[in-house]
Structure formats: C-alpha cells, structure tokens
C-alpha cells in the first residue's frame, strides 16, 4: 500500500496525527499501567506455583506467606532490615540497566560489589587515626565506585577488544574477587592476634555512615539510592547515552554504520554498572557491617540480576521488585523457627519468580507479535 490514493493517504495521516498526540500525552502512564498489570499477573502465577511447592513440602502455604510477611514488615525494626537489603539490590539494579540495555550480561556484578567493598575498606583503614572522618567517608565511597568500575572495565575491555564473553569473564572475576577478600581478611588485613571468618577489625564509630539510632538505617545511603535511581532514569531516557546503548544493544552492525563505536559504549556501560555495584559494596562496608567480611556482597549482585529481569528492564519497577525481593530475603529468616521449614524456601520463591516471569514475558511477546502488522 505504498501508493494509496490521496484521500486514503490523508485519512491515514490524520489518524497518525491523532495517535501521535495521544501517545505524547498518555503513553508513559499507559505503559506503566500495562507493565504493572503484567507484574501483578506474574506475581499471581508465582504464588500459585510456590503454593504448590509448599504443599508438596508439606507446609501450609498461607501460614508460610504470613510469616514471611510478618518477618519482613511486622515491625519498624524489621522494616529497617528490609531497607538495608533493598539498598544494594536497587543500586546494583541501576547499574545493570545500563549493561542490559546494550545487551551485555554483566554477571560479574557480584565481583564488582566485592571490589567496591575492598576499595572502600582500604581507604577507611587510612582514616582510622584521622580526625577528618567525613572526608574519609565520602572519599571511601568514591573509591568503592572506582573499585567496582575497574573490575567491570576489565570484563568490558576483554569483551570489546578481545571478544571474550562477558559472562565468562565476569564469573571468573567474581571468583578472583572472593579470593582477594579472603586473602585480605586472613592476610594483610587480619585482626591483631587472630584472623577469623568474622572479618577485619570493626572501624571506630566515627567512620560509620551516620544512621538513625532507633532504626540503624542510614538516611545518607537512602538518599544516595534515590539520587542513583533518578540519575539512571534520566540518563537512559533523555540522553544520547541511553539511546546509543539501546541502538547498539539491538543491532551493533547497524549502529556501527550509524557512526557509533560499539566497543566504546560497551566499556562505558560496564563502567556505569561497576560504579553503581561498587557503590553498593562501599555502602555495605561503611553503612552496614563497618568492616570487611567474607560474605560482604551477600549474593545481592546475583539477586539484582533477577530483580532487573523481573522488572522487565523498567527502571521504575526496579525499586518495587527489589523491595519485594528484600522482603522475601529478610522474612524467610523466620521460617525455620516457626514452621520448621528451611530458609532456603526464599530461594525457591525467588527462583520461581524468575521462571514465571520469563514464561509470562515470552507469552506476552507472542501476544504482541500476533497484534503486530507485517508485510
């Protein structure tokens, strides 16, 4: 229908214009509503699936859900714990949005969190005897970002220049990162007298990120997360970086012909991902544990991969899903005590979530494809 008579063409244009106007006004909201619907349907499917698993395991599903709920949102203190888990999850999620956009599977995000923690610890160690704690605290967070970024750029560089798959490089670097942490804890940074799995020596209180006394929650960390979210959203939506990442992610060959350098942007995306992950690691050290411990990353990196996938790469859903995951993580600590269930149930639920999401996602894609006109 490349050459319709004038009348039809004009009609078409009129329709297009009307549609454009509608798109400009309602589209983001409509999109958000549709995505939320999708999310609700997914969650419903997940609850069905997990209830089945719970029944097979011989546990009453509703009691289990109730205890998870109570264990995560039952008191202000527990809520504070949930937020503590939410902070690194959301930060890593922000970073991963950049790498997913360009089509990279930054599985090395876990190692990037670890290296962020290591760099932050290293800097804070210099500050133990100093009286300018504030300076050291802020510089240490910056160092954390650099640490994560360095670790990410290694993988990005291998990918862009050497063609090494970023999944393998990232996974390898995760092991190296874990090795470095253990070596530091049992070697150069060990506690005077006795080296132990409980980590390095705790920093003096002046080097702790200031927190609300009653809730052990740092408003600074919260502010950082919110700024990160807004920054990521703006960068991806309104700037050339976001557009270029998307273009390269969808078709690197065409993007090259359009004058973009895919390798450079891959490294840039990794830089962002590593920076945010490193920041998460730094906050774990200065805001939560106040020392370096072997499990400093607590698998939040890996978990954040699931968070981003479940939110369908939509930045405004990332904090919601991260919150949900944090609740599951914190709430399931209750399960062994009250229901004699294993706390790994939260892992089962999270796994089921991802499976159900991917299932729903492909179903939705097929549905959209059926709606779509073609030649």
């Amino acid at each position: 229908m490349s050459n319709p008579p004038k009348q039809m063409f004009m009609n078409w244009e009129k329709q297009s214009l009307e549609k454009c106007k509608r798109y400009q006004k309602v589209d983001p909201m409509e999109n958000y509503v549709r995505q939320s619907q999708h999310l609700l349907m997914t969650i419903f499917a997940v609850f069905l699936f997990t209830s089945l698993v719970l029944l097979i395991a011989g546990a009453p599903p509703f009691a289990a859900y109730f205890h998870i709920f109570k264990g995560s949102l039952g008191s202000w203190n527990k809520f504070a714990h949930v937020i503590k888990a939410w902070i690194p999850l959301t930060l890593c999620g922000c970073g991963l949005l950049f790498t997913f956009r360009i089509g990279l599977w930054n599985i090395g995000v876990e190692g990037q969190v670890m290296m962020g923690a290591v760099f932050t610890t290293a800097l804070l160690r210099f500050g133990v005897d100093s009286c300018q704690a504030v300076v050291f605290l802020s510089v240490s967070l910056l160092a954390g970002m650099i640490g994560g970024a360095v670790w990410a750029i290694i993988a990005g560089f291998l990918k862009a220049k050497g063609g090494v798959n970023e999944i393998f490089a990232g996974l390898g670097l995760n092991f190296v990162g874990q090795g470095i942490i253990l070596w530091l804890i049992f070697g150069p940074w060990r506690r005077p007298g006795v080296a132990s799995m409980s980590g390095t020596e705790t920093f003096p209180i002046k080097l702790w990120l200031p927190h609300l006394a009653s809730m052990r929650l740092s408003p600074i960390a919260l502010t950082i997360v919110i700024i990160s979210l807004i920054l990521t959203g703006l960068l991806l939506k309104y700037t050339r970086i976001g557009l270029n990442l998307k273009a390269i992610g969808n078709n690197p060959n065409a993007a090259f012909l359009y004058g973009l350098k895919p390798g450079r942007f891959m490294i840039l995306a990794m830089l962002f991902a590593g920076g945010f992950a490193g920041l998460a690691g730094g906050l774990q050290v200065s805001g939560v544990y106040h020392r370096l411990i072997p499990a400093i990353s607590s698998n939040y990196g890996y978990l954040s991969l699931l968070v981003v996938m479940l939110s369908n790469y939509n930045i405004w859903l990332v904090p919601l899903v991260a919150f949900f995951f944090a609740c599951l993580n914190v709430g399931s600590i209750q399960l062994p005590m009250v229901l004699q269930l294993d706390s790994s149930l939260s892992g089962v639920i999270q796994g089921a979530l991802v499976l159900a999401t991917l299932g729903m996602h492909s179903w939705r894609k097929r549905w959209l494809q059926n709606m779509r006109p073609n030649a």
């Binding site: 490349s2 008579p5 214009l17 309104y238 700037t239 270029n244 779509r372 030649a375």
Partner: protein, 486 residues
C-alpha cells in the same frame, strides 16, 4: 487441487491488509498474483500457507472448508510455500536440509533420501550436490533446494513469493521451466510478484490486488496496460534523467583486492567522478558487495590503495569515510540498515547531524513526522521499524541519507520496491547528483541499471570485466558480460 478463498479478511489493528478477497485456483494452472508493495499479496499467501491467521473468511480445499493453524498442518493438506527469503539452515548440507521436516521416525535413511533428492532434482532439471553446504549456495540454489524439499513432502499446491528477486536470469529460466513442468503434472502453482514480465512469461491467469482488495482478473494473453491500470489505478510516470557532465575525481581505486562474498574482489582499478551515477551489474555475489563495502571503508582491503577526494584512505575506517561525506546503505535492511526494537523517531535521533547530549525528543518526533510525510513511509513516529513493511523500511532507509554527501554507496537500493516506487526513489536520488554527488549502486535488475545509470560496471567472478557508458550498450551486451562473455 482446487482451492477457493472466500471473503478473506486480515486486519492488523486499524490496517486492513486483506479486505474481503475471493480467489479460485485450479489444478494444472500457474496462477499469478500481481500487485505493488503492500497490496496484500504476501499477507494473503501467509494466510494460505498457515503462517498467519485470517481475521475472517473461509478456505475451501476441493470443495470442503478447512481450518489449519500452522504451516505444518497446511503442508499435510498439500499446501507449501516458498518464502521470499529461503528458510533453510546455512550450517547444514543440502541433504540435511532436504531431510528436515520429512523424517517421521527417529533417524532417516540417508541413502534413500539422497536418491530421492537426486531423482526429484533430475526430474525438474535442478543441479544440486547433496553434500554442499547451504551457506555457500546462491539464493537461486537455495530456492531450488526449498522447492525440492516441498515437493518431497507431497505438496500439491506450491506458492512462490517473489521467486525471481535476487536470482540470475539463467536460474530464472530453470525455475520457470520447472514450474511449467510441475503445472503439467497437475500441481497448482501460485506465483506472487510485482514484476509484470515474470507473470506474463509464466502465468495462464492472473489476479491483481490493490490495497487489500481484488481489482481484476485476466487470462492469457494479457494486456499490459490493463494490468498496470489494475495495479496502480493510473499508469506510472516515467523518469526524467539528469544529464550532468562528470566533474572532478571523487573516488579512485588502484588495484584493490578484498575478501568476502563468494568471489571476493580481485585487482580492481576504477575512478568515480562527481555527479556520476554508476550501476554495478553482475550475478549476486560477484564482487559488487565487496566493492561497495571497500569503497565505504567498512571492509579492509587486502591489496592496493584507495583514494577519496585526493586523500589516501587505505587504512581508514568507515567513520572517517562518513566524516568526509561518504554514505553507505546496506541491502539487508533489518540486519545492517535498521535497528529492530527502535522507533522511527529514535532512528532519526541517532542519525541527526548535531548530537546534543540531551536528546530533544519532542523536536525529533516532529522531525520524524515530517520525514514520514516526505518519504511516504506508512507508519507513525512511534512505530517500531520492524513493524513496517519491506518497502516502507526501504523508504525509511533512504530518508536517513545525509543531505549533502560526496558519494552515495547504495546496495540494491530499490530491492523489493514496485516500479512506481523505484521511479520515485530515483527522482529523489537524482536531486543529489544535481548537487554534484556521485552515486554508486548495485542492482539485480539490468533494466533499472540501464534506465538510471550513466555508466555500468559489470562484475564477473570478483573482477570488473566491463566498464561502459550506459548509452553505449544494451541489455543483450550486458547480459552476455554478466555471464562472463565480453
């Protein structure tokens, strides 16, 4: 096999791709479906082959209403379709591809299938070696393989969607002879095309579609003017040619060789001048693609040197070529030309000359609306490019060309477009050469090259074997050169 389509509708949202189509196909007859791009031919055929679902309507086979949901069920009923882009597995051999979809048990008897393949190929004079890799076959040969595979499945009704696009004229003859033979054997054949000459050469009956409805039917012998009228409503305008005297040297290649394609490029020396329109002719993969890619700096040369407006460019990359005003448009639209998943507006933003850090989306959207109008792309600024039809994608690609290039390198710029669109495209391109831009393009249509180019380079086996002014030559001479005879 008698097939009757009654009142077939296919709607995609507000777009009515098929709007009440009636069609009767009788056995032993080659039935042509004619129409320009987007007339609804492909949609109708996809419905008939089970690839997509109709919105409403009835399909009768031998008088009985049938309802099938996918190509597998359609092929059980005896309907098979040869798609525009062959659906095969390039990494497998011819025999493996042939066996796919046929084996019902866990393993097939390779020897038996080998004999079957050779026997079938023999019967319709196709020459395919069972052990060749599919990835090194030409489009025409891959098409032959697909036809053989469909025949082996027991197809009674064969649908061919634009089968003559991108194949050589020798392959076309072989194909036509085979189709006539199959029709004599009592098979029904539907040929979908926008090329009048193909339909006239082959079909006994033709149905013309325009904008989703049947505008007419005609039996052999055809009246060309009547057919054109049914296709376009009014006969298309012809092209007014620009007569520019070639100016200064723009691109010079000196004994350039390169790899890639089937034959690579060997020892090529050529000079392109300002304002010249140069057509590259030759069988697909004879070196034209490599030539264009080397001329655009996308591919490195293995020997020789290349100069652009006096500068040596031998070691530069495509982005440097771009900065000097070279624009390249690839043939594969969705692999290299456009970015699936991105909207028209996003494409425009990517191609903008000024690249501010913050993208001005509203402005870009208005710009996209203007481009859509100017280039007659059927779509919205927010449409994803993969939702557009082939012809519209091509027009969109053309709209991305920079406003003041020095050299345009176009790989099959009018592939898949109907005559009217071809003329429109060239009118647009001629505006460039009035501003002293040089255009180098490849095309599989000799007529197009003769119509629009000032100069023709004929490629054979990776070499330029003929370099001639288009006014000094004709179809026969070029045809011979394409086959390697100078």
């Amino acid at each position: 096999m008698w097939i009757e389509l009654q009142d077939i509708h296919k709607h995609y949202g507000p777009v009515k791709a098929n709007n009440g189509i009636n069609l009767k196909v009788v056995p032993g007859c080659i039935h042509g479906i004619l129409g320009e791009n987007g007339a609804g031919k492909s949609t109708l055929m996809k419905i008939l082959s089970g690839f997509s679902h109709k919105t409403s309507g009835t399909i009768l086979i031998d008088g009985k209403a049938v309802n099938y949901l996918n190509p597998a069920q359609a092929s059980e009923l005896g309907i098979g379709m040869l798609y525009q882009d062959p659906l095969d597995f390039p990494l497998l051999t011819v025999l493996d591809n042939f066996m796919l979809g046929q084996i019902k048990r866990i393993s097939g008897h390779r020897l038996a299938y080998r004999h079957k393949l050779l026997e079938l190929a023999e019967s319709i004079h196709f020459s395919l070696h069972p052990d060749t890799w599919v990835k090194i076959l030409t489009i025409g040969e891959r098409q032959q393989l697909e036809i053989l595979r469909l025949l082996a499945l027991g197809i009674q009704m064969l649908i061919l969607d634009e089968p003559t696009t991108g194949i050589s004229s020798a392959q076309k003859e072989t194909l036509f002879r085979a189709l006539k033979k199959l029709a004599q054997e009592g098979k029904s054949i539907i040929l979908v095309s926008h090329k009048l000459e193909d339909v006239e050469a082959l079909c006994e009956k033709v149905t013309v579609l325009r904008q989703g409805v049947v505008t007419g039917e005609m039996h052999h012998p055809f009246e060309t003017n009547r057919l054109l009228e049914m296709m376009f409503g009014s006969p298309p305008k012809s092209l007014s040619r620009c007569a520019e005297t070639p100016g200064k040297e723009v691109l010079a290649m000196n004994r350039v060789s390169g790899s890639g394609g089937r034959t690579g490029l060997k020892d090529c020396s050529v000079v392109i001048r300002q304002g010249e329109v140069v057509g590259l002719a030759g069988l697909e993969g004879s070196g034209q693609g490599v030539f264009l890619r080397i001329a655009g700096g996308i591919q490195r040369l293995t020997a020789g040197s290349i100069h652009l407006i006096g500068r040596t460019m031998t070691k530069q990359d495509h982005h440097y070529f771009q900065r000097l005003g070279v624009a390249f448009m690839p043939a594969s639209r969705l692999e290299e030309g456009l970015i699936t998943g991105l909207s028209i507006t996003e494409h425009i933003a990517l191609r903008e000359k000024q690249k501010p850090f913050v993208v001005k989306w509203q402005r870009t959207q208005r710009l996209a609306g203007k481009r859509i109008k100017k280039f007659r792309v059927k779509g919205l600024p927010d449409s994803l490019v993969d939702e557009l039809s082939g012809g519209n994608q091509q027009r969109l690609l053309l709209s991305f060309l920079p406003p003041d290039p020095v050299l345009l390198l176009l790989e099959n710029p009018t592939r898949g477009l109907d005559m009217e669109s071809v003329i429109w495209v060239w009118q647009h391109l001629y505006a460039y050469c009035r501003n002293r831009t040089s255009i180098v393009f490849s095309s599989s249509e000799l007529d197009e090259i003769l119509m629009v180019a000032d100069r023709v380079l004929v490629f054979f086996n990776g070499r330029i074997i003929k370099d001639v002014e288009s006014s000094q030559t004709d179809v026969h001479e070029l045809g011979k050169a394409i086959a390697g005879k100078v």
